[in-house]
């Protein structure tokens, strides 16, 4: 029965979620933070954050330098409209409680309740090697199976890592993404809090994924986690992130940094599915350094948020380094998703593959903005970019901005792009077998994303499935 087992599982899970709605993730709870820096951002805010965390001097210095860069850089104007972000009205640091628990039993019951509603402890038990949960600015829970701890794997929130493994953190912190890179990298450098620190020692292969779940609760707040993943030589790991937030009338900001270091011959897979509510500006910076013979997989699903700008990048630094970058973006009513992948070929025999699938519903806008650069000397480098857009309604829009900079004569590069609509013939065919228009169109949308859905863990696939069906049924008639 091997051909149906996965269907059966998805059917069972989707059925169990049938009566819940997207808004089920958008509930907010009544937890009063025990500490907050209040609204606005200045030197004092940054020093306060550093003081609370009792950070070493180098980190404090680094934060203040990043703040200067942030203040000196203008807002980027080349992409979506960001004028809805009011930096003076945001709260940059909110501490939910005192504890960082190693067991769910020790987590504040209200916070635990939130994560239970999101299904996190159940997921962890079922298929994770370890998990970290962050609530607003701080990690509130972290666990790693003994098996991996004894092999020297480190998986904790970055704040804890700064205290416990300062040398290791210092070696990698902001190396791939320095604050000078862009305004939002600088913002994160100044006010970061939380995020994961994952170190996998040489030749250690972790067979189950590790996951961090980010929950933003406060209104007009910012979440600025900073995540560092290091796979040492010959190691392999799959790291997953999930994110949700309540829906508010005013905007929140999520500006994360994810730095990944795939050392020689290592293998890293990073999967992230964000389902932020549509009051969130989601502007993370994600980048991987990929050394000789190493492989980096990006799998990202951008489902929620009001505005997203995200371009996961792989710097292929060593001979034979490779990367694959799969991305799904979904733009619902009133939202703008500007996304794409970057591959920078710096060494011979490097290969990259970027596949982007975007779906625009209602007046939703998706844009593909990607970069492939092949430096001179990246002999025999190969790259393939494919971006497919699906426009559901007449108001739906998609733009494609591919940047291709090829300086190496022996390199091979190809780019394919398609833009499609849900066709009448497809709909009629499926409806003539008894399917409703909603069912048929959601199946077509899910089919369009199928290449990437296969790469996504079951729980996320089910959620994606449910979300698409819900959005399609809200649409009414397609056209």
């Amino acid at each position: 029965m091997e051909y149906y087992d996965k269907d059966e599982e998805i059917e069972r899970l989707t059925e169990s979620l049938k009566n819940s709605k997207k808004s089920d993730f958008e509930f907010y709870d009544t937890i009063e933070p025990i500490y907050s820096t209040g609204k606005g951002l200045n030197r004092k805010t940054v020093e306060e954050i550093s003081d609370i965390k009792k950070e070493p001097g180098w980190m404090r210095e680094s934060r203040l330098k990043a703040l200067d860069i942030f203040l000196s850089k203008p807002m980027p104007t080349w992409g979506p409209d960001l004028s809805g972000i009011n930096f003076d009205n945001l709260t940059y640091y909110t501490r939910p409680g005192e504890n960082k628990a190693k067991s769910w039993d020790d987590v504040d019951p209200k916070i635990k309740d939130t994560f239970t509603k999101l299904g996190i402890p159940a997921m962890e038990q079922k298929y994770l090697a370890g998990s970290v949960a962050q609530y607003d600015s701080e990690g509130v829970y972290g666990s790693l199976r003994k098996e991996w701890e004894s092999k020297g794997v480190i998986f904790t929130d970055l704040d804890t890592a700064v205290q416990k493994y300062p040398d290791l953190v210092k070696e990698y912190y902001c190396k791939a993404i320095p604050p000078s890179d862009n305004k939002f990298a600088a913002l994160n450098g100044a006010v970061w809090s939380g995020g994961s620190f994952l170190y996998v020692p040489k030749n250690v292969h972790i067979d189950l994924p590790l996951q961090t779940y980010f929950r933003m609760n406060g209104e007009q707040s910012g979440q600025f986690e900073h995540t560092i993943v290091i796979a040492d030589e010959g190691a392999s790991v799959h790291y997953i992130e999930g994110c949700t937030a309540p829906r508010y009338n005013t905007s929140s900001l999520h500006t994360a940094i994810v730095e990944i270091y795939a050392r020689k011959n290592s293998n890293v897979k990073y999967t992230s599915v964000q389902n932020w509510s549509d009051s969130v500006y989601n502007l993370p910076v994600k980048r991987a350094w990929v050394d000789e013979g190493a492989h980096m997989d990006w799998v990202t699903g951008e489902l929620g948020s009001k505005v997203t700008m995200i371009y996961p990048s792989s710097y292929l630094r060593g001979k034979g380094a490779s990367t694959s970058n799969l991305q799904i973006t979904l733009a619902t009513k009133g939202t703008f998703k500007d996304a794409g992948g970057k591959a920078i070929h710096l060494a011979p025999d490097t290969t990259s593959r970027i596949v982007s699938k975007s779906i625009s519903l209602d007046d939703g806008l998706t844009a593909y903005r990607g970069l492939v650069r092949m430096n001179e000397g990246a002999s025999r480098a190969k790259s393939h970019v494919q971006c497919d857009a699906l426009l559901i309604n007449n108001d739906s829009k998609n733009y494609t901005y591919p940047f291709d900079e090829i300086y190496e004569p022996t390199a091979e590069f190809s780019h394919e792009a398609t833009v499609g609509k849900i066709g009448t013939d497809e709909l009629t065919y499926m409806r003539s077998r008894g399917l409703s228009e909603d069912e048929a169109s959601s199946m077509i949308v899910l089919g369009f994303m199928d290449d990437i859905m296969k790469e996504i863990p079951m729980e996320f696939a089910v959620e994606m499935n449910r979300l698409v069906k819900l959005e399609m049924s809200k649409m009414g008639a397609v056209g």
């Binding site: 051909y3 149906y4 269907d7 009629t428 003539s432 089919g447 994303m449 199928d450």
Partner: protein, 247 residues
Amino acid sequence: MTNTVLEIKNLKVSVEGKEILKGVDLTIKSGEIHALMGPNGAGKSTLGQTLVGHPNYKITGGKILINGRDLTNAYPEERAKAGLFLAFQSPIAIPGVKISTFLRTAYNDLYPNEKMSLRDFFNMVKTAMNDLEMNESFISRAINDGFSGGERKRFEVLQMIVLKPKIAILDEIDSGLDVDALKLVSAEIKKLHDQNIGFLVITHYQRILKDIIPEFVHVLKDGKIVMNGNKEVSDKIEEEGYEWIKE
């Protein structure tokens, strides 16, 4: 066995403003096999698409009834629920949509009260696939995506067997099938005929009519049925073409 009647009354259909069907009358009952023949461009496929409810085929006059219920303006899924099925002449590919999911959803929509378990359902599908000599792995492929002509036709027949319609329209079901595949498909059609399903077999040639003997043969020419007869008509068409039939 319940009896079903499909009545097509003075049906007029336009495509992109051009009138293709100019008043077609046909009645098909459970257990009957009708052949609809006619030269290229006569409007045969238009009739199939119109019966199934394709929105590009505008009905400008006449009625489509099933058991007296007016389905002239009904959605395709309502027609399917009333028991109508079309095996498409050129079934469209739908990338990424798995056959297993599609068939299961369709079946549940058509028979909401059956609540058949997934396992029972797929056993039923498997049996039908065996009869059609299709590999079991076929079910995890995407609808018509990368299918050969023959695979597309087999998949149409598979859907017909699984979804159990009352009246089935087969639009050029024999094209793209080799001799052996045609035999398998004909055998399945005969089985369904024994189960009291009514058929409208649309065909340009009469290859398939050697295996499935129609009780009624209708000739469509320039949007009108110009002759109603039996097997003798299709035999004569095979020998002499359509020239002898006057409008």
